[in-house]
């Protein structure tokens, strides 16, 4: 199945019953799939909105009403949605936002890229909030992480970003799906705007004019973010046990890096791969645990160096961090990354 379609089916099976979006390449196959899939369901709503702003605000409304809601776009469209995402973070509303990244800045191009790492992991919009960011690297992981995104969004009441790229969206791989979740069986949300008959009213707002109340709210969000940092990091270790050099990469880049690691292993070089699955929270402790045994780390990204800053923050002076990146929608081959690894092994006499 095509990656974009996999996300649509996984969202449906996770109990998502509201989607609003506005077309943009390379993610159009996702709304295409959902428009057909939701038409088969009695309780689901699909809307092609008049703009990205309209779409994110419709998702906000659906979320307030308690339904599992999703929107999707690609880089420039995600920028347009940032106001709504900030409002949802402030109002503590769950939603899933899919970003199928393309080359930038500006309109950029439509080729696969990882140039929105900073935007995704630092909140993206105004107001100092965070969103959980999940980075799938295979068809099967598109299933598990899409479904997990809805659970995390509801559990912590915040927007969760599924950060893919054009390659993840277009590639086809065989996948298996778990049984669909019946939305009626999901935990009840006691904060939704669902009619106040027989109870007091609920207020959902991000406007808090009194600075002391705003500060209290910010501290509350900070405690939530700390809890997420504590509990929700996820990563994959690949051939790291005997490695003398670790490549750190996420998403599509990690897939290419795995191919590179396999190549250099055949040539006798002991390289491994550390792959963050959650980009925020970043798996800092798990990465730091590789050092000081590992003295050299090569970060590979399809941008000019963004996650590399989180890698450096994680390990401090414990190891030397090297970077290799290609921006603009260029897809490196495994051979290219294998060359970069080999050069480092020669330069630092790693064997």
């Amino acid at each position: 199945m095509r990656g974009s379609h996999v996300i649509g089916e996984a969202a449906t099976r996770a109990g998502c019953r509201f989607y609003a979006g506005y077309p943009i390449t390379p993610q159009n196959e996702l709304p295409e799939y959902l428009s057909k899939r939701f038409a088969e369901l009695e309780d689901a709503t699909f809307i092609q909105a008049e703009s990205e702003l309209a779409a994110i605000n419709m998702v906000m409304g659906a979320s307030m009403a308690g339904v599992r809601a999703m929107t999707s776009s690609s880089s420039p469209g995600i920028s347009l949605k940032q106001e709504g995402i900030s409002y949802m973070a402030g109002t503590e509303l769950p939603a899933v936002v899919v970003n199928v990244m393309r080359g930038g800045p500006g309109l950029g191009n439509i080729a696969p890229s990882q140039q929105d790492y900073f935007q995704a992991t630092r909140g993206g919009g105004h107001g100092g909030y965070r969103t959980i960011v999940l980075a799938p690297h295979s068809g099967q992981e598109l299933v598990t992480l899409t479904m997990k995104a809805f659970d995390l969004a509801d559990r912590y009441r915040l927007p969760v970003v599924l950060l893919g790229d054009g390659l993840m969206g277009q590639m086809m791989e065989p996948v298996t799906f778990p049984d669909p979740i019946d939305p009626a069986t999901l935990p009840r949300k006691d904060w939704v705007l669902g009619g106040a008959k027989g109870r007091g009213g609920h207020l959902l707002a991000s406007l808090l004019l009194d600075p002391s109340k705003m500060e209290q709210h910010n501290w509350k969000l900070a405690r939530k973010y700390a809890a997420i940092r504590e509990r929700e990091t996820e990563h994959e270790s690949y051939l790291l046990d005997d490695a003398v050099l670790a490549v750190v990469a996420f998403g599509t880049a990690a897939r290419i890096a795995k191919g590179a690691v396999n190549r250099v292993r055949k040539a006798g070089l002991k390289a491994g791969l550390f792959r963050p699955v959650t980009l925020w929270p970043f798996p800092e402790r798990q990465l730091r645990a590789l050092t000081p045994r590992l003295k050299h780390i090569l970060v590979f990204e399809m941008n000019l160096g963004q996650m590399v800053e989180d890698v450096k923050l994680s390990i401090g002076e414990q190891a030397t961090v090297h970077f290799y990146g290609r921006p603009g929608g260029i897809v490196s081959t495994p051979h290219e990354i294998a060359e970069a690894i080999t050069k480092l092994c020669y330069r630092y006499d790693l064997g």
Partner: protein, 186 residues
């Protein structure tokens, strides 16, 4: 068999992405690991189109090919673009009806298949890609012709019995061309 990567390339409309999809689906039916990685966007809407297919006995690390084992090239620009990327010892499959250039490399095998001529003779001009994929699996043995026929039937299930019959014929003709010796140069 290990891991094999194939690039299919040609004009939009030649059924290049379909050939890749058929190969990937057939591999899946044989319980192999497969990935299908298409070019997309502006390219799909005119001009050249290509896709990379990996078929493997083991989980596939990278769906991106550094040096493909096989390249199926349906027009001249595709030959120019991909000849240099094919692994030494690999094979290029050329559409003999459209590609006039002769490959320059001496370390790869070349199989020329007149796919348009064969498809026209069958009265199934749109099945030129089916002729090629028939020839491709006969030569490479990546998947069985039986799996390919089954996949094609599934993919075109809504098109009816006549299309299925013609596609099957085109697939078999492609395979027969290779079995008969084909026109192979090294």
């Amino acid at each position: 068999m290990g891991m094999t990567k194939t690039i299919f390339s040609g004009f939009g409309g030649q059924g290049v992405l379909m050939m890749g999809y058929v190969l990937a689906s057939s591999g899946m039916h044989e319980d192999k690991h497969v990935t299908y990685l298409p070019s997309y966007g502006a390219e799909v809407r005119g001009g050249t189109a290509n896709c990379t297919i990996t078929v493997s006995d083991e989980p596939i690390a990278s769906p991106v090919a550094s040096f493909p084992d096989f390249a199926v090239l349906m027009n001249t620009p595709s030959l120019v673009r991909f000849e240099g990327k094919v692994k030494a010892g690999g094979t290029i499959f050329l559409n003999d009806d459209l590609v006039e250039l002769k490959p320059k490399r001496l370390d790869i095998a070349v199989l020329r298949v007149p796919v348009n001529t064969i498809a026209d003779r069958l009265g199934h001009a749109r099945g030129a890609n089916m002729v090629m994929i028939g020839a491709f699996v006969q030569k490479t043995g990546l998947v069985s012709l039986k799996s390919v026929i089954k996949s094609v039937k599934e993919i075109f299930a809504t098109k009816g019995a006549k299309v299925h019959k013609m596609n099957t014929l085109a697939l078999k003709e492609g395979a027969a061309f290779v079995r008969a010796g084909g026109e192979s140069e090294l």
